[in-house]
């Protein structure tokens, strides 16, 4: 069990550690758009769209990593005072009843949508835009896949003694540390 958890955790961590650099790329690309526009009066639709791609990939591919790191905000009005098995049960129920159905639903409902974008290799509506809308739309499937993977690890972690919920307990919305 522990080896499965650590394998999944490693995969998720690896995606997070790669994807987080997209934030820096986004900053640089946005500045490039601004400089091209204001200094050289050049339009740059493709570059502008690439900022949108980077932005989308950042949170769609980073959501599972954020979950692993305890970065998704929780309402801990009662939760913080819970002791013993109760937080673990809340976690298990949440994963089985909320996360898994939502991810399966997203995969099921979006499959056709993404497949048809692939079938025509959907391009940007702008002539000068990026011809990769089908890749952008694929993020809609990658989000639930990555979340489902992490869900397995998070579910198993609730059965580990002691440290089971340490990540969850230290998490708090806007804090980033």
């Amino acid at each position: 069990m522990n080896s499965l958890i650590s394998t999944i955790d490693q995969i998720t961590r690896l995606t997070g550690h790669c994807v987080r650099w997209l934030a820096l790329l986004m900053v640089l690309a946005t500045c490039a758009v601004v400089i091209l526009r204001y200094a050289f009066d050049l339009p740059s639709i493709a570059l502008q769209e690439s900022v949108m791609y980077l932005h989308s990939a950042l949170f769609m591919l980073g959501a599972a990593y954020t979950w692993q790191q305890g970065g998704h905000v929780r309402v801990d009005v009662f939760y913080r005072n819970w002791i013993g098995e109760r937080p673990a049960w809340a976690e298990r129920l949440g994963i089985v009843l909320l996360v898994v159905p939502v991810c399966v639903f997203l995969l099921w409902v979006s499959w056709e949508y993404v497949a048809s974008a692939w079938a025509i290799r959907e391009k940007s509506q702008e002539a000068a835009g990026l011809p990769f809308v089908y890749l952008l739309k694929s993020l809609i499937l990658l989000l639930p896949i990555l979340l489902l993977l992490q869900a397995i690890a998070e579910f198993l972690k609730t059965f580990r003694p002691d440290e089971s919920l340490t990540a969850a307990n230290t998490s708090n919305g806007g804090q980033h540390d």
Partner: protein, 458 residues
Amino acid sequence: MTEFMPLILFAVVCIVLMCGFPVAFTLAGTSLLFAGIGLLTGTFDAAFLSAMPNRLFGVLSNQILIAVPLFVFMGVMLEKSRIAEQLLRNLGLLFGPARGGLGISVILVGMLLAASTGIVGAPVVTMGLISLPAMLRNQYSPALASGTICATGTLGQIIPPSTALIILGDVLSSAYQQAQLKMGIFSPDTVSVADLFVGALVPGLLLVVGYLAYVIVVAIVKPNAAPAVADREPLTPRFLLSLLQGLLPPLLLIVAVLGSILTGKATPTEAAGIGALGALILALVYGQLTVQRLREVVDATLQVTSMIFLIFIGAALFSLVFRGFGGEELVHDIFSDLPGGVFTAMLLVMVVIFLLGFILDFIEITFVVVPIVAPVLLAMGVDPVWLGIMIAINLQTSFLTPPFGFALFYLRGVAPADLPTRTLYKGVMPFIAIQVGILLLLAAFPQLATWLPDQIYG
């Protein structure tokens, strides 16, 4: 029973939320369960669910919200490169020798920090770690110190460029279009993030002035609560120079970012990108930029962005299901049956949002509650900028109010253990009074929010 399904859905979501599972998953999952029940009992049309992929793509291609990760990057960069700490030390040395001076510098730095971060919680934590020990060490009354920090920490939501206002601006602009289309106006007016930024300036500054006035009054009436700082620095040219060096660059950065948005020279996204690069350069110049720190900054940016947008996605599913059960008509009916028209409707919304502020934070309320109530209120003729600022100040007040206010929890988490929670509560009371005062003033004189945008954008 069926016609009240939307309200039951909302209530159940709130209850499930309190079990502490991540908000985004709770929103999406609970809504999906309700849709399932509705499908089984034949009270819900599956067509609503099939709109989900399109909604998701709408989240991905939303042009306004691209500014969010960029502003988060800028704020985290400024925070992690210890620029705020340096500022507070310098300002403390400048104002410290006067009674109440340290309190004043905490408010001023808080305002700057707020303007640069704009994420709920982060400023309270930073200030709690830097300012609280300094104030306590200098014999400030613990109640005054903790109250000042909590209140100043929540300013981040109202002082532009705030992430909270960007999200609110995006939601309000689509609500405004929706409301006008329903009224048969097919070339609708628009409301933009910049409108909201400009509208927030006067009320935000009024709050700051209110806080400052309170600290000054305390310093005069009860000198022991806000004494002069013992360690002074003579006002030498060298000291003044180092003060300017610490103060000017971040100030210029914020003014440049804000100015380029307000004058319409740049979109919020462009300004945020330049601001983020500016923060990066500042950190480099101050010798604070290491690979390790950059790694921390991008990691925090990733996590905060994912957190916000996953809630957006959860809220998108919630709103589809809410509408599928006829929620829009229900809310509309409830509001139009109210005696007293717009006034009662607005009052009701404000009270509900205030109470929801105890369990939900700004992002969730903006994505979940505002899209439900705003179109109805706007259709009744409420000004969108005024509505946005009222919501923002109202929520800020809610975050300060014991026993559930978020800011109090954040400060409690970093305050020394021997500071009694009771003192904390006592300390925020005067600030809550200031908040409520400004809120009432704004309710009575909407021009406080709408005048400046009118002057600038006509």
